[in-house]
């Protein structure tokens, strides 16, 4: 009995997965537990295990193809089995038209596919062909639109005229159309040669970033409060740890620790909006934004309020490393109650961050600046760092956010108080 292998749900937010690599070919024997493929999810590249022994009878998507959750990726069974019913079920799960519409050729494959108007999947099908209507192909060729970049709204994901026109109007302002005359070219004006723009396929990660952050920014009423923190004491503490105990910690570690302590004192900040209730989290799990080439990841440090600086520092380094190698396990990216994003190392003085749902707040950390400060009536050199808290006004009000920031400043300015 042949068995379908479907795209598994490998993370909470995953809606589709991209086949990063096939480890098997059609005809290969597999035993239970074999890793048959690697799938790139919105978060990480994960292994797909096979649970039944047998022979790989069919591999549906090619490497690089996106498959929605539950979509057929392979069939395992015994050599010679008829798997056409499994494949057919997949191609048109919607009911075919029961009225005697016309004709005998209603049952041909093409029209059967036609009868599944809701099946909209990624344009690239199992055979690697892009399905597009002749008209869509012609318009795409005329206007220089790459069909690879378009997802089809027709049956079986077929790209139709409407899809090309939508895609074209979205990109026409930035794309150079082949064959179009350079608008500024004239015999007298200095000519600028146009360099071709390129269209970049949206990665899984970018799709998720786009979706989640748009949702957050457009749904959560953000407000921002910035506070300037005197870093003199923190710098001294860090130097002492290094010189006397040979312990290396970063300023970010200090901010993380101070935030954890402040969060445990201000529960409203460490909370989530649930629609008709607000969860004030008992634990303090802080997500750290880590920039990687393809985008951004947010590994989560757990129970930070109960951990010391050394442990925080080493765990952060480890998680950041895993993030850069895209080896984070889904559970290492889930369950945050607060997020910290630090662009200080780039010299950014201050910035506002978008809240990382379901958190109520995110802290944006700027660079430590040398500034003239007035001490005892004299201008002396000082060290300052600005942090900006973005808050979801549904949960947090301005005064609550200000109280949290004051606690945070006081902790960083008096590192010893974190021990209390």
């Amino acid at each position: 009995m042949a068995i379908k292998i479907e795209m598994p749900k490998l993370s909470d937010t995953m809606e589709e997965g991209v086949i990063a690599k096939w480890n098997v070919n059609e005809g290969d024997s597999v035993s239970a537990g074999d890793i048959i493929a690697e799938v790139e999810t919105d978060k990480a590249t994960m292994d797909v295990e096979v649970f039944d022994a047998g022979t790989i009878l069919k591999i549906v998507p090619g490497e690089g193809d996106a498959v929605p959750l539950g979509g057929l990726i392979a069939i395992v069974g015994e050599v010679g089995e008829d798997i056409s019913s499994l494949l057919d079920n997949d191609s048109s799960s919607a009911p075919t038209n029961s009225s005697p519409v016309a004709e005998d050729d209603k049952v041909t494959k093409a029209e059967e596919a036609m009868a599944a108007p809701t099946a909209v999947v990624a344009p690239s099908q199992g055979d690697g062909r892009i399905k597009a209507s002749p008209l869509a192909k012609k318009i795409a060729a005329d206007k220089g639109v790459d069909l690879n970049s378009i997802s089809g709204s027709g049956p079986e994901g077929r790209i139709v005229k409407k899809d090309v026109e939508t895609a074209q109007s979205a990109t026409s302002s930035t794309l150079t159309r082949p064959g179009a005359p350079a608008p500024m070219a004239s015999s007298t004006a200095k000519s600028f040669s146009s360099l071709a723009s390129q269209e970049v396929k949206v990665s899984q990660m970018r799709k998720v970033i786009a979706k989640r952050l748009s949702e957050s920014k457009f749904t959560n009423p953000h407000f921002y409060e910035t506070i300037d923190i005197d870093m003199k004491a923190a710098i001294e503490a860090r130097t002492q740890l290094k010189d006397k105990l040979d312990i290396k910690i970063s300023f970010n570690d200090i901010v993380v620790k101070a935030s954890a302590v402040a969060l445990s004192r201000h529960q409203a900040i460490n909370s989530s909006w649930m629609g008709d209730s607000i969860i004030e989290h008992g634990d303090v799990h802080i997500a750290i934004a880590v920039a990687i080439d393809e985008g951004l990841m947010t590994p989560v440090l757990r129970h930070v309020d109960q951990k010391g600086l050394v442990q925080i520092s080493s765990e952060t380094r480890e998680l950041a490393g895993l993030a850069r190698d895209r080896k984070l396990a889904p559970e290492q990216m889930e369950g945050s109650t607060f997020t910290i994003s630090n662009l200080g190392m780039f010299g950014i003085e201050e910035f506002t961050a978008i809240i990382n749902p379901p958190n109520a707040c995110i802290l944006a950390v700027g660079a430590i600046r040398d500034v003239p400060v007035v001490e005892n009536g004299a201008v002396v050199p000082g060290k300052r760092m600005k942090v900006t808290l973005s808050s979801d006004h549904r949960i947090v009000d301005g005064a609550k956010a200000a109280e949290f920031l004051n606690t945070l400043r006081s902790l960083i300015e008096n590192p010893l108080s974190m021990l209390l």
Binding site: V101, A102, E103, A110, M114, P117, S133, P134, K138, G154
Partner: protein, 325 residues
């Protein structure tokens, strides 16, 4: 404009041509004394006499042959079949003689004859009396095939058919003889053979429908308009020669086409139009060309089966919705 029944429009056309040209005569079963099985020739016997309005025995092959011979010898016969389902008996005269004589004589003999009568089904008449023959005859070189849907077209095209120098099959429907419609009262009103007509303008999908099917297409289009889908209906009126240009122009506008045909699917009118569209307008298609036609099954007698067998507005609506994405 006068409002006439389909049968009256045909009679006016025949009457006008008979009075214009004394070579024109009518021949068939019950056309004279009985005034026509469907009263298309009503009053013609009184007006033109037995010499030009001739009752025949029930012998389709015989009187069709008589007609072909008369046409070759300079007359312009209108041969009525009580239905084209009976003309199968005369198929040898139509296919092997009328259509080929000019070709085989190197142009020495013409055959200007009109074979006319109702075509296709007309309710529960059983398998042998329910066949649409327009596709089949259109298969043969040398024949013109007309299957009209409205009184005005019937009049204008009947006059063209009678004047044509070639054999013309003119198809009607028992179910349309009573249909009323405005008919041009322009003197000597002629519609040229081979010219279709856009009978409803729309931007979303092209429906090609002729004969009785045209009226189903109109019903479907009215329903679909309620859902915001605007159908363009083209009535080709002439099956052969086909006004392909008109169809292509519409398909290039709507990018979608459904052909509605009362014939069986295999090698039928709808199949031919589908082929021509993909060849001539491939780059303009945003969806496959679909057809609504009979199944590959003979006409059932049972009422429920017959209703399921015959194309319906519902089937047209379903087909349009299938390609509307």
């Amino acid at each position: 404009m006068a409002v006439l029944q389909f049968r009256e429009a045909l009679k006016h056309a025949i009457d006008e041509e008979m009075s214009r040209d004394e070579r024109v005569f009518v021949m068939g079963e019950e056309v004279a004394e009985y005034n026509g099985a469907y009263k298309v020739t009503e009053g013609l016997l009184d007006k033109y006499g037995y010499r030009r309005v001739i009752d025949t025995p029930i012998s389709e092959l015989g009187f069709a042959g008589l007609g072909v011979g008369a046409a070759m010898n300079g007359l312009r016969p209108i041969v009525e079949f009580m239905t084209f389902n009976f003309a199968v008996l005369a198929a040898d005269q139509i296919i092997n003689h009328a259509t080929k004589v000019k070709y085989m004589t190197g142009g020495q003999a013409d055959c200007p004859i009109v074979f006319r009568g109702p075509n296709a089904s007309a309710g529960q008449l059983g398998a042998t009396h329910s066949v649409a023959y327009d596709s089949m005859y259109a298969h043969f070189p040398g024949l013109k095939v007309i299957y009209v849907s409205e009184p005005n077209d019937a009049k204008g095209l009947m006059k063209s058919a009678i004047r044509d120098e070639n054999p013309v099959l003119f198809m009607e429907s028992e179910q349309m003889y009573g249909l009323k419609g405005e008919v041009s009262d322009e003197e000597d009103f002629i519609i040229p053979i081979g010219k279709g007509k856009i009978k409803r303008e729309g931007s979303d999908v092209t429906l090609v429908a002729h004969g009785k099917m045209y009226h189903l297409a109109v019903q479907a289009a009215n329903e679909l308009a309620k859902d915001g889908i605007e159908c363009e209906i083209i009535d080709p009126r002439t099956v052969k020669p086909l006004d392909l240009e008109l169809i292509l122009k519409s398909v290039k506008k709507t990018n979608r086409c459904i052909v509605i045909d009362e014939a069986h699917p295999f090698a039928g009118f709808a199949a031919e139009i589908g082929f021509l569209i993909q060849r001539e307008a491939f780059d303009y298609l945003d969806a496959p060309v679909l057809r609504v036609c009979l199944p590959d099954v003979n006409a059932p007698f049972s009422k429920p089966l017959f209703d399921a067998w015959l194309p319906s507005p519902k089937q047209i609506i379903d087909a349009v919705k299938q390609v509307s994405y």
